[in-house]
């Protein structure tokens, strides 16, 4: 806020400037600011960024040496990273943030009936990963990304097969292409049981929430982002009145004219399969849901046995229920889509699909909000994406090798800032460096059908620290946090300490050649030169580089701890520090 004196001075200046007096000063023109040049990261730093972004681990020493010797080697290494199976895991994590299916803290189906031999971990993994495995399959097999909504198959493992009665090829182990057994149209993730178990249709919602999921995740067009007012004069218990309102009421039509036809594609799916209904069904010899449970009664066309494994999530006979309710016919923004497969095909052809995919991929890698990515950047990427026949790995490559992604600091809209380490990546990096996997056994005795086996604490929200580290839990925490928080620091400290304690004990119990990190010293080594050489090697291995300042600083820490303890403890403290280095936490 300018002071009155300043305002007066400004007014005087402008007055003089505009009075046309030839003797007065000309208008005050601010010089055009110098365009800020985007400074690019070194080839090594770009390699670190690409490696962590794709595989969740840092580059090896050999890979760093390659780009030091020849920066042009970066491209070939990025290609290799994109072909690495770990990139498939990254693709799944990206889409888990989109579809919110990794919800181990909620909606967990029980280990009962045909699934009683599986642990809660296996049930959860099967449920959460079913739609994500399809996306991985499409991307890692170089299929057009559009296939995520057009695939005429699904992906299943033996647990999914048991839960949903899917026929598998016994000659193939793990996840494989299969088909839903219940006559549902196949349209990639749109046909996913788990996706629609996560996103339920309650009460008289009539699948509109699900329709919003389709629009929001695949088209970046959220109906729920719009403020709305509901006309209190509409009797919501009168389905005919509601049907009229969503067609005719000015407060309703704006959204419902597009939302309802989209929703009408999904009538074949059950509104929800509550885990309590499944548990209750198995306890009841007739396999009928427990009437005392507060769950929706069985819809017309459903059977009590639908809630027994194998679950029945889709009933073709219900597909046309929208007719009875006098709702709009299935469609996609004005285009009729008689079947779910037609919907998938139509989505794939919509320009918004490609654009939205570009925003999602760019946002994932750069940690820039999708809405903040400049339109010209999106357009260029989208044009190339379409020209490549929707090759998601080519899109990823283009992003990873782009200058906005390589910015030392963001100066233009869309430039990537310092990138925050994701929880899965921190766990993977620590395992890669130390051999330590942070697992625990959370379930005690008496857990019945909800016993959890060993869990990886970096990828669990229910028992572990994924959400506390800044990830999402898919249920309550729906947005990741791309900066440091007190919880994140506590997790860093704890995992760094555990991994350090593990690797120091393990390394000193092995010959040097078999150790993870401490190859140059023994438990009683104290001479400065040897210790400093080991410290330099640790910095190279863990952070990818070492400076005299790093080594001197770390040596000071080592000596300070050793003075009160012993070399073994000193190495543990130093490693605990290194595994929290800001160059690890941010990349």
């Amino acid at each position: 806020m300018r002071t009155p004196a300043a305002i007066a001075l400004l007014a005087l200046t402008l007055s003089v400037a505009c009075n046309g007096d030839d003797d007065g000063p000309g208008p005050v023109v601010e010089p055009e600011p110098e365009p800020v040049q985007r400074e690019l990261l070194s080839a090594e730093a770009r390699l670190v960024r690409a490696s962590v972004s794709t595989r969740g681990v840092r580059p090896s020493a050999e890979e760093l040496d390659q780009v030091r010797a020849d920066p042009a080697a970066l491209e070939a290494l990025v290609d290799a990273y994109l072909a690495d199976p770990a990139f498939g895991d990254t693709i799944k994590s990206m889409h888990a943030e989109l579809f919110l299916t990794r919800t181990d803290a909620d909606n967990q189906l029980p280990s009962v009936g045909l699934a009683e031999d599986y642990t809660a971990n296996q049930i959860h993994e099967a449920s959460a990963e079913e739609p994500l495995e399809l996306v991985r399959h499409v991307v890692m097999n170089h299929r057009p990304y559009t296939e995520i909504v057009t695939a005429d198959y699904m992906l299943a493992n033996e647990v999914v097969a048991a839960m949903y009665g899917i026929e598998l090829d016994p000659a193939v182990s793990g996840w494989q292409e299969a088909r839903w057994p219940d006559g549902r149209p196949h349209a990639g993730v749109l046909s996913s049981s788990q996706l629609w178990r996560r996103h339920v249709s309650a009460g008289s919602n009539f699948h509109r929430l699900r329709a919003n999921v389709v629009a929001e995740t695949l088209l970046c067009d959220s109906f729920a982002a719009r403020d709305l007012t509901v006309d209190g004069g509409v009797d919501l218990t009168d389905e005919a009145a509601v049907a009229r309102a969503v067609r005719e009421n000015a407060n309703c039509v704006g959204c419902h004219q597009a939302l309802d036809p989209l929703a009408a594609n999904l009538w074949g799916f059950k509104r929800q399969i509550d885990p309590r209904a499944v548990e209750g069904a198995h306890e009841n010899q007739a396999c009928a849901p427990d009437p005392d449970l507060r769950i929706p009664p069985i819809d017309e066309g459903d059977l009590p046995t639908d809630y027994c494994y194998p679950l029945v999530m889709y009933t073709p006979a219900k597909e046309d229920r929208w007719v009875e309710l006098d709702l709009r016919a299935p469609g996609f923004y004005g285009t009729p889509t008689p079947t779910l497969a037609d919907l998938g095909d139509t989505i794939a052809q919509d320009p918004r699909f490609g654009q939205c995919a570009v925003r999602r991929f760019y946002s994932w890698f750069s940690q820039v909000d999708p809405a903040d990515i400049p339109l010209d950047l999106v357009k260029d990427l989208r044009d190339d994406f379409i020209a490549s026949n929707y090759d998601a790995r080519a899109l990823s490559r283009q992003i990873l090798l782009s200058e906005p992604f390589a910015a030392v600091r963001p100066v233009e809209p869309g430039d990537a800032p310092l990138l925050s380490l994701r929880p899965e990546a921190y766990g993977a990096i620590v395992e890669d460096l130390t051999g330590f996997v942070w697992t625990a056994v959370p379930s005690g005795t008496g857990c019945g059908a909800s016993c959890w086996d060993d869990v990886d604490l970096t990828t669990s929200d229910r028992w572990g620290y994924r959400a506390l580290f800044g990830g999402i839990d898919g249920f309550q925490i729906l947005q990741p946090t791309h900066t440091a928080t007190p919880n994140k620091v506590l997790v860093l400290q704890r995992l760094a300490a555990e991994a350090s304690g593990y690797v120091v004990e393990n390394d000193f119990g092995k010959p040097a050649a078999e150790r993870h990190l401490l190859q140059a010293v023994e438990a009683d080594t104290t001479d400065q030169a040897t210790v400093e050489a080991q410290l330099a090697a640790l910095h190279e291995r863990i952070l990818g580089s070492s400076s005299d300042e790093d080594v001197a600083e770390a040596y000071g820490l080592f000596e300070a701890i050793r003075a009160d303890a012993d070399p073994r403890t000193a190495w543990t403290v130093v490693l605990t520090m290194l595994l929290q280095d800001p160059r690890l936490v941010y990349y």
Partner: protein, 440 residues
């Protein structure tokens, strides 16, 4: 009216103790640095947000509509003839039922003259997540901080945490460095007390923790890390986006250390592997505030309010809620915290005026809030809905219905809560009209 300090983050962090290595980890004071805490400024206020996640039916308690035929409230199945209303103070009108939810009357008998109800808040959505985001953050855009976090970042600036989330629903947005969570299974306990960890797998051959740095070890480590942050800043800083991330790292480390030293006494009361639940959260929340661990706590009622079938379940839900609120009010009273704590009880939406074909109710984009504590004008119901359960325009200064007034939208509600806590909502909401009638 308190604002986040105008000084740079780096000056603030310097004031927080020049890093752990150089600090005595004693009480931190922002007062000396923050002009907002000049003499005569009201003392900081604590906040407890209680969220009835899923959509409560306001006609059961806050907005009774017993004689309105267009609305099917709890009286629709009142076979005992127990549904009634009760008035407290000047105008606080609530629905009561001595058979199905007696705790409501008990609560208001004890505290009614110190409570205010605000009806007719427009939430702008009928979907859970968008509505919750709106009512808590005052915005329909993701990535914003909610009222608990904002208030905590101001009033808890000198505490280990500004805000603590015991529910999982709190949203920290850009203020993540000031906020903490306990985790769905109270996992924070194993982070601040490594000996309380889950069982290690048998193949590890050892128990956790495999290494537990001492306080001096942590200080020494942090001194090195802070130096490295500054070297990273020299290379990658110079723009807000990157500087903020580095500042957040340093601030988070300071707060994490203080949480270990100052928060463990309360955190150790959590049971690893279990959520404390609603009733268990309440004494912990008061303890966190009383010990100065944070200045805002967010709790959830741990109940399923989303009664699309069998809306009569709301009786039991409100019964449990008000058992808890009575306990909370008592705890605050015993701890001497009524004069410095505001409790805001809310839900992201209410339910439709009439029941559906499954005797449940669906979503309705209005809601109510119950507030009590410091600075609250008790004994009043403010705002209103009409006989179609739509929000009515009101005079924000009086809380009375007024055709010339305005409907209180979710952004105005959030801003008004911040004002109730003596936090200037301007930086977050701009020049927005706020509801002031509930201020004592």
């Amino acid at each position: 009216m308190a604002r986040r300090p105008a000084l740079s983050r780096r000056h603030l962090l310097a004031g927080l103790g020049a890093g752990i290595a150089g600090s005595a980890l004693g009480p931190l004071s922002v007062r000396a640095l923050n002009p907002a805490y000049a003499q005569g400024t009201p003392p900081p206020r604590n906040l407890i947000v209680v969220c009835a996640n899923g959509g409560w039916d306001t006609t059961f308690v806050f907005d009774p509509k017993l004689d309105v035929p267009e609305i099917e409230g709890p009286e629709a199945n009142d076979t005992e003839g127990a549904e009634d209303t009760a008035t407290y103070g000047d105008s606080l009108l609530v629905g009561v039922n001595h058979v199905k939810r007696p705790s409501v009357r008990t609560f208001f008998d004890n505290w009614g003259t110190r409570c205010a109800v605000l009806n007719g808040i427009s939430t702008g959505s009928v979907a859970h997540d968008p509505s919750r985001m709106r009512i808590l953050t005052g915005s329909g855009a993701p990535g914003r901080a909610d009222i608990s976090v904002i208030a905590g970042s101001i009033h808890g600036a000198s505490r280990p945490l500004g805000s603590l989330d015991m529910s999982g629903f709190s949203m920290a947005g850009p203020l993540g460095a000031t906020a903490g969570r306990i985790g769905v299974s109270s996992q924070v306990k194993a982070l601040t007390n490594p000996s309380a960890a889950f069982t290690a797998p048998s193949e590890l051959g050892r128990s956790y923790p495999l290494f537990d740095p001492s306080t001096d070890d942590r200080k020494a480590i942090q001194a090195v890390l802070e130096a490295r942050v500054e070297r990273m800043r020299a290379l990658r800083g110079g723009v807000e986006a990157n500087d903020k991330k580095l500042d957040d790292l340093v601030e988070s480390a300071l707060r994490a250390e203080r949480l270990i030293t100052d928060g463990s006494a309360t955190i150790d009361q959590l049971e690893l592997g279990r959520s404390p639940g609603f009733l268990g959260s309440l004494p912990l929340a008061v303890d966190f505030l009383s010990r100065g661990v944070c200045s805002s706590v967010f709790v959830d009622t741990s109940a399923r309010w989303d009664t699309h079938t069998g809306n009569s379940a709301q009786h039991g839900l409100f019964q449990d809620l008000f058992v808890g609120l009575d306990a909370l009010a008592t705890l605050l009273d015993e701890a001497g915290r009524w004069d410095d704590t505001v409790v805001v009880v809310l839900s992201e939406m209410t339910r439709t005026p009439k029941v559906n074909t499954e005797f449940g109710k669906d979503h309705w984009p209005y809601t109510s809030a119950l507030v009590f504590g410091a600075g609250v004008k008790g004994g009043h119901t403010f705002g209103s809905t009409n006989d179609l359960l739509e929000a009515e325009p009101m005079d924000f200064a009086t809380g009375e219905a007024a055709s010339s007034g305005r409907i209180l939208e979710y952004d105005g509600f959030a801003a008004s809560v911040l004002e109730l806590l003596d936090v200037d909502p301007g930086p977050w909401f701009g020049d927005l009209d706020t509801f002031t009638a509930w201020r004592a």
